[in-house]
């Protein structure tokens, strides 16, 4: 009896081992399609405008991984990446929408007061309605005017940003040349030129900051950091010139 039991157990173990190997082989054979499915899911979770790019880029990354475990971990981690990318885009959209609201409500009300003298309170409900309609297209004369105004604002801020960048670039270029030439810092001719460059940059910065402020963007410190504005230029922003 014991012998029969031992034989049956042994037979079962052999069958189980064979099935286990076969299952493992099957799983191994199917792994590439599992990675591909995971990456496809991750791509589908990513923001729509990035999907096509990420599908190919992540496919290439997966292809560069040498072993199966690495591929599996990568595919799972790409799922996490797509979630982060989605949240990033949503945060930017929310910020953009908040900025638009500020422009619509504050700027358009002030323009309306100038044009036809109506109290902003009288148009408060209309303005909120108009703000929500921007996304879907122009539906009234005020929408059309608002659209034109925003286009004008965008063009102006772009031009002023270029002017600021050019002015800061010119100052930086001058300083680098002076350093290379080992020019004396107390040379009066050089000091005059530098003072003019600083004034030009300070004017450009002033115009840019004021325009941004008009549009509801009030974080000046960010701009100073973004454009790496030197302290000398910051100090002269909005100051009256003492030389011609």
């Amino acid at each position: 009896m014991d012998l029969i039991q031992a034989l049956v157990t042994g037979l079962l173990l052999v069958v189980a081992a064979c099935l286990g190997n076969s299952l493992a082989d099957d799983l191994r054979a199917r792994l590439p399609s599992h990675y591909a499915t995971l990456v496809r899911l991750a791509v589908r979770r990513a923001p729509p405008h990035l999907r096509e790019r990420l599908a190919e880029e992540w496919g290439a990354h997966l292809n560069d991984m040498p072993d199966n475990l690495g591929k599996l971990l990568l595919a799972l981690d790409l799922f996490r990446a797509s979630g982060t990318l989605r949240r990033d885009v949503e945060a930017v959209d929310a910020e953009h929408s908040a900025s638009e609201q500020i422009c619509d409500t504050e700027f358009l009300d002030s323009m309306q007061r100038v044009i036809c003298g109506r109290a902003p309170a009288a148009r408060a409900v209309e303005t909120v309605g108009a703000a929500s309609r921007w996304t879907f297209g122009v539906v009234s004369g005020w929408d059309a005017l608002g659209y034109e105004l925003r286009q004008e604002q965008a063009a102006t801020i772009g031009r002023l940003a270029r002017e600021l960048r050019d002015a800061l670039g010119a100052l930086d270029d001058f300083d680098q040349r002076a350093r290379r030439a080992n020019a004396a810092a107390d040379n009066p001719a050089l000091q005059r030129v530098r003072a003019r460059l600083i004034d030009t940059a300070a004017d450009a910065l002033w115009h840019f900051v004021v325009q941004r402020d008009c549009m509801g963007f009030r974080q000046t410190e960010e701009i100073l950091e973004d454009y790496a504005v030197p302290a000398a230029v910051r100090a002269r922003m909005g100051a009256t010139r003492t030389h011609g």
Partner: protein, 101 residues
């Protein structure tokens, strides 16, 4: 265009690209150099690209001819290189010295 948030991981990515600014690196190359997981790496790469600190381009060739998807290569822009050096230089007094500077 917003300023990218500086984190240890972002600095690692910038450092890897700064080690040879003429060279363009794929996501897989950067992941190998920085030991960052792709879930962390790709959002950083896309944020840096959005801030114009990085530019990217597809690998030359056709996926059909290559027999695999094309890699996307990242490289520091002039602005990115300048700002990355500034950020790393600002950190140097705190951490002693950085291999890639």
């Amino acid at each position: 265009m917003s300023e990218p948030r500086m984190s240890a991981q972002t600095l690692k990515v910038l450092g890897s690209l700064l080690s040879d600014p003429r060279d363009a690196l794929s996501g897989a190359d950067i992941a190998r150099l920085t030991n960052l997981a792709s879930g962390t790496l790709y959002p950083i790469l896309l944020r840096l690209e959005g801030a114009r600190w990085l530019s990217s381009r597809w690998e030359k060739g056709n996926p059909i001819d290559l027999g695999r998807p094309r890699r996307r290569f990242y490289r520091l822009t002039a602005l990115g290189a300048k700002r990355a050096k500034q950020e790393l230089r600002a950190l140097q007094p705190m951490i002693g010295g950085i291999a890639w500077t």
